[in-house]
Symmetry: C2
């Protein structure tokens, strides 16, 4: 099994996703600042993985705090949370994870410092395990939506590498294949960071799942040629009305799906649903460095002086989304109701 | 003015489009085989430029023929035409240019060898000049369709570098700007060959036209944000019914345009219209080497063993095309009639 990130005594160990697919290199972030850097530079990426990484980073920072009182520890804790919260703005799982660590800290305030430190580490590890369990549950729900055979398109990487393991969108595909469905994955390469060609193709290869990489602008032609029976993608934030923020290009895939009468599914844990956000217009969209577009593998592709846009995400309005798969079940329109009812459900995934 | 290709005594001189935008290098193909290689390896690309390059390659091969009889020269000529015809299958301008050289040869058969050679060179040079004139005429027609200000999106490079000069789609934009319109160009980078970031941005920069490069999967988001007032692209082949084969990704742009109520224009010379081809399904689509997708700047981006699709073109059904701009005027649906009537028109562009 792919170890996207794990807690170790030395720090948080990541597979370095900037080096894949040609180098399988692991790096250990030994301070919370290094964890924040790993998130910012996309050594680790993918909304659920970012959430777990942030929790582990907080646990690491608290563990190494020199504070001698709980009040002092709380001060350090708040600062660490602030640093983590400034890494990447779109994935709501980051803020969900910080909030969960905050609540844990509040409950532990009356305990000795050593116990607080220990229990925050346990909480972060629990979030790691719960994420995998959620993805397995999501896979079981979503597998029923997959065609019995044929092409399924995905965009970016919503796989084991985007989560603690197994994956959201790729978890749905993995579960469908475990159930005997004969799926061939079409992976958009996903410029500018190439998560599709570098990461999705790599992890599906490891599992022996047949995969074809295409450049993003080929997805439309593949759909028109009848090669795609369904689409499944992940999400970085889902608004209360079902609008979905996900990797740039997702909106395009959704429009093409509608035009070609292909179902378009989103798979994401409940922690990705932001009920406080009424619709997609309210989701902050991260703009990343122009160099990600202008330079590839160190080579300049855009002449000097030309401007560049590099939004990392776009918003797919709910009307294009056939269904949203969560670990608690499948939501369909109207999403205001279906998402709220899943979010309110007690049904906690048991680890 | 950018010299995409020109006839010289030593051979056909090209700006090497594989080296742009960081290096402005010129190469001279000294034999017709070298011209064929230049087309195949995309040192020169773009349907109209391929047509002119093929004509010059034929003229070059015939000039250097050792044949001592017209029958012998014709044999060499036929072989050269065959080699040229096997370089790239989709751009109909290639076959149009070969056919025009064939007809010229037929008319010259009674002449001495030296005159045949000289007149074929003249014919190729005439096609070069006519192409620029056609683009200027196209620009004047198409400029009226452009918005007075704001963003215009283009895909791939249908500019000076895709033609003998001035450009088709970029010719329309240039003409609109010459008329005082305040246009900001959004250029899709156009994977896998990056004609947008490397070529379109380079030639628009040279002209001081404001340009923003985006990755292909950002076009949808830009449209949804209201940044794009019109779209104009070139074409590699237009079927009698108005279906348009153009660079892979064009279909996607057209679907996004429809969804966002943005006009989608195609600019191409009459030589791109293939009345013998009833619809887009009959257009042969070139599939290029997987390495163009898997490797960028020499760096491997897709793990070994993963399959790759690399169709160089797709077909945009006529229903998505708001209008087709030619040097003889603007065609609108129903295209069967409008394209045939423009193709039949005497209105020959005067050089």
């Amino acid at each position: 099994m792919i170890q996207t990130l794990e807690w170790t005594e030395e720090g948080v160990r990541f597979i370095d996703q900037t080096k894949l697919p040609t180098e399988e290199v692991y790096v250990t972030s030994k301070t919370y600042q290094q964890v924040a850097d790993a998130i910012r530079t996309m050594i680790v990426r993918g909304a659920p993985a970012i959430g777990v990484a942030a929790a582990m980073g907080i646990a690491l920072g608290v563990r190494d705090s020199k504070a001698e009182t709980v009040a002092g520890l709380k001060q350090d804790f708040d600062h660490i949370c602030e640093v983590m919260g400034q890494t990447r703005p779109t994935a709501v799982n980051l803020f969900w994870a910080i909030q969960r660590m905050r609540e844990k800290f509040e409950r532990l305030r009356v305990r000795p410092i050593s116990q607080i430190k220990e229990e925050l580490i346990e909480e972060a590890k629990r979030m790691h395990a719960e994420d995998i369990a959620a993805n397995r549950a999501m896979g079981n729900h979503g597998a029923t939506l997959m065609p019995n055979s044929g092409g399924v398109l995905t965009h970016c990487n919503a796989g084991a590498l985007a989560t603690a393991g197994y994956g959201t969108a790729l978890g749905v595909i993995r579960a469908a294949i475990e159930q005997g469905k004969k799926i061939h994955v079409y992976a958009d390469e996903t410029r500018p960071f190439l998560q599709g060609s570098r990461l999705t193709a790599w992890e599906l290869m490891k599992d022996g799942i047949p995969t074809t990489v295409i450049s993003d602008n080929m997805a439309g032609a593949m759909m028109r040629q009848g090669k795609i029976g369904a689409i499944v993608v992940g999400a970085d934030r889902i608004a209360a009305n079902g609008d979905v923020a996900n990797k740039i290009g997702t909106y395009t895939v959704a429009v093409l799906a509608k035009e070609n009468n292909i179902p378009f599914y989103v798979a994401a844990p409940i922690s990705t649903v932001d009920l406080a956000c009424p619709d997609g217009n309210k989701i902050p969209i991260e703009r990343r460095n122009a160099r990600e577009v202008s330079h590839i593998a160190g080579k300049q592709m855009v002449p000097d002086g030309v401007s560049i846009e590099n939004p990392a995400f776009d918003v797919t309005p709910a009307k294009y989304v056939t269904a949203i798969v969560t670990e608690r079940g499948i939501a369909r329109a109207p999403y205001e109701e279906s998402l709220r009812s899943l979010a309110d459900a007690d049904a906690k995934v048991q680890v």
